[in-house]
Amino acid sequence: MKFLDEYRDADKVKILIDQIHSLKLPPINIMEVCGSQTHTILKYNLEELLPSNINLIHGPGCPVCVTPIDMIDKAVLLAQMEDVIFTSYGDMLRIPGSKSSLMKAKASGCDVRMIYSPLDAVMLAKDNPHKKIIFFAIGFETTTPANAASVLTARKLNLTNFYMLSSQVLIPPAVKLLLDSELIKLNGLLAPGHVCTVTGTNWCSEISNEYKIPIAVTGFEPVDILEGIFLTAKQILINQYNTVNQYKRVVTKDGNLKAQETIYNVFEVCNRNWRGLGEIKNSGLRIRDDFRQFDAEKNFEINSVTSNEDQRCIAGEILQGLKKPNDCGLFGKDCTPIKPVGAPMVSSEGACAAYYNYRSVLKITENE
């Protein structure tokens, strides 16, 4: 398949691995920001091929994982309301809230539906005029254009029964928070290719300059990741700190201007709570007042929820790259994808789930 097979090619992987090994690197920390990149690293077990002095740190770029627990509790509360059809992407269904999850609400008889696109929720609203359709909008800049388009479509169709629960977040403020942290020293970053498809790469260049850190805007296949690592590591070696675009087949400097316009037509920047990271200034998107009729938080009584997070879960430290999933005492025992304690064990982009699904082979090797 074009644009996929050549980026999973064993020969190309070998060439890049040789190039990376030929660099005489000191021990370095490179963070892949996006959860899909973490997933590829684990799914292809790329660390088996990399020199041991490259430490890959898994970043906060899993939209499901960073959704705060009070938003899950609000979602469950909405799903339990009369005449509501609650719609969400599949992974959100299993995220544990304080007491329940959307999946458990569904099993108890609530009408919770997994959808692939927010426009499906709009169509549900059109087809079910006597029901209230609520869409759980989560995600980074990658998913927000489609969310914005769904609100615009609902307005165009004059729908009065479509609502959105917005827990959307922006990547650049979270990356800056991690770079400001004294707890971890990052030497290079793999920026998230999907986010940059929408945002462009200017924010990466600004971060490179401000923090003197090399960044490779990177795709999601094994060849992409390894090339991103090579382009970053090469710069670390000679103290360069530029942003380079590895994912040129998709990402441009200015990004998708039409998508950006659509986002800010419907949403505005706000402070937002991140699971594990706390409130980050200007890191979220909320629905503009012009569109308040679609805002679930303004149209339903849900703001009084009180939430309790399981204190044993170290998701916060994992999302900041301070710890790896197998550093957690719950990992693989009290916390598994069947019965997750924290969100990173749920999402396919979550670091804990990726470790659980793909990494146990290493433990077996160690035992033998």
Binding site: A10, N45, L49, S360
Partner: protein, 343 residues
């Protein structure tokens, strides 16, 4: 009589309990095996094989709840016949007789029921089996979803045939009879109204004839399994855990149709976990593997057969995937429901 309190982590059934993945296995062990507990059931095979009056028989049952009931390449009736025929075939049995039970929702079109019955008869004729008994129940509108079908089947096993995970030995070759994920993706594409350049069709097919030629060609077939719900990954994991053997699979040997692969990319699904309805995996002694492969490739339903892996001494009870780039990782059971109601 007091019911024992089940030791499960959930108070209610979730869709994932029907996924064929680890929750299904847990449910079966915690509830059904504990309650029914007997030697034949405890083997947890696709069907039970037992002796009566000197005859070795195989018996199995399967229910079909696929949505939509008509999909590219098949329908629920055909699936119900082939599914049970295939489960019998995987016991090494020659399928003989089937039962068919229908749970029908009030308001269902009689004409559609007729269509389903005709296609079941055609399917049964193709497999040389007869549907000899059945049952019909109707539930109120809204209390079922169109139609659910259960089939049970009985078959006869030759004395020299002995299919069981306990026969697996290190060095055994693993043969897969063709491309994977066709069925699950065909049903999903129909459900989601997804149109591709070329239509993806279900691989729904009876495997009894293919199994017959294989059993004639080799006396050293150790395990047969049709990787339906939960896909290739689930079947391999079941075999690994029952036999305590280590299984090494070479990713580049697994064939996936181009359009199926594309659909998997779009949906974010892993084809290794997607249902098949006309494929089998065979574990056989290494000395018979090449001959079996040739025999399988000569049959229309096995023309794309490949040796995809082998049984190894390491990683006991686990399935290891050698990725397309040469690294190794575990191929585990999925814990979540990728696609409900696929068969």
């Amino acid at each position: 009589m007091d019911c024992p309190k089940p030791e499960t982590e959930f108070e209610k059934i979730l869709l994932a309990h029907g996924s064929g993945g680890s929750l299904t296995g847990k449910l079966i062990r915690d509830i059904f095996i504990k309650s029914f507990n007997n030697d034949l059931l405890n083997k947890e095979h696709d069907g039970a094989v037992f002796n009566i009056n000197g005859y070795k028989l195989a018996f199995t049952t399967d229910s079909f709840v696929v949505n939509p009931i008509f999909f590219p390449g098949g329908n629920i009736g055909e699936l119900a016949v082939y599914g049970t025929v295939n489960d019998l075939s995987m016991c090494g049995a020659k399928p003989l007789f089937l039962s068919a039970s229908f749970i029908i929702e009030e308001g269902f079109e009689i004409l559609t029921l007729q269509q389903i019955a005709v296609s079941m008869k055609t399917a049964a004729d193709r497999c040389n089996v007869q549907i000899i008994t059945g049952d019909t129940k109707v539930v109120e509108k809204g209390k079922g979803d169109k139609i659910f079908i259960n089939t049970s089947g009985i078959g006869i096993v030759s004395d020299e045939v002995d299919i069981s995970p306990s026969n697996i030995k290190a060095g055994d070759k693993i043969i897969l009879s063709g491309t994977i994920a066709d069925h699950g993706i065909a049903v999903l594409s129909e459900r989601e109204n997804l149109v591709f350049q070329s239509q993806i069709k279900s691989d729904t097919a009876p495997l009894n004839e293919l199994v017959e030629v294989m059993l004639n060609a080799s006396k050293n077939i150790h395990v047969l399994r049709d990787p339906t719900r939960g896909g290739l990954a689930a079947s391999l994991n079941e075999i690994a855990s029952k036999s305590a053997a280590g299984i090494l699979i070479h990713q580049e040997k697994i064939r996936i149709k181009k359009e199926v692969k594309a659909a998997c990319e779009i949906f974010g699904l892993d084809p290794l976990y997607i249902a098949n309805e006309g494929k089998l995996i065979c574990f056989a002694a290494p000395e018979d593997a090449d001959n079996l492969l040739n025999v399988m490739r000569d049959h229309p339903l096995g023309k794309d057969s490949e040796i995809i892996g082998e049984v190894i001494n390491e990683y006991k009870g686990k399935v290891i995937l050698k990725t397309s780039i040469g690294t190794k990782r575990i191929l585990d059971l999925h814990t979540v429901e990728q696609l409900p109601r696929i068969c």
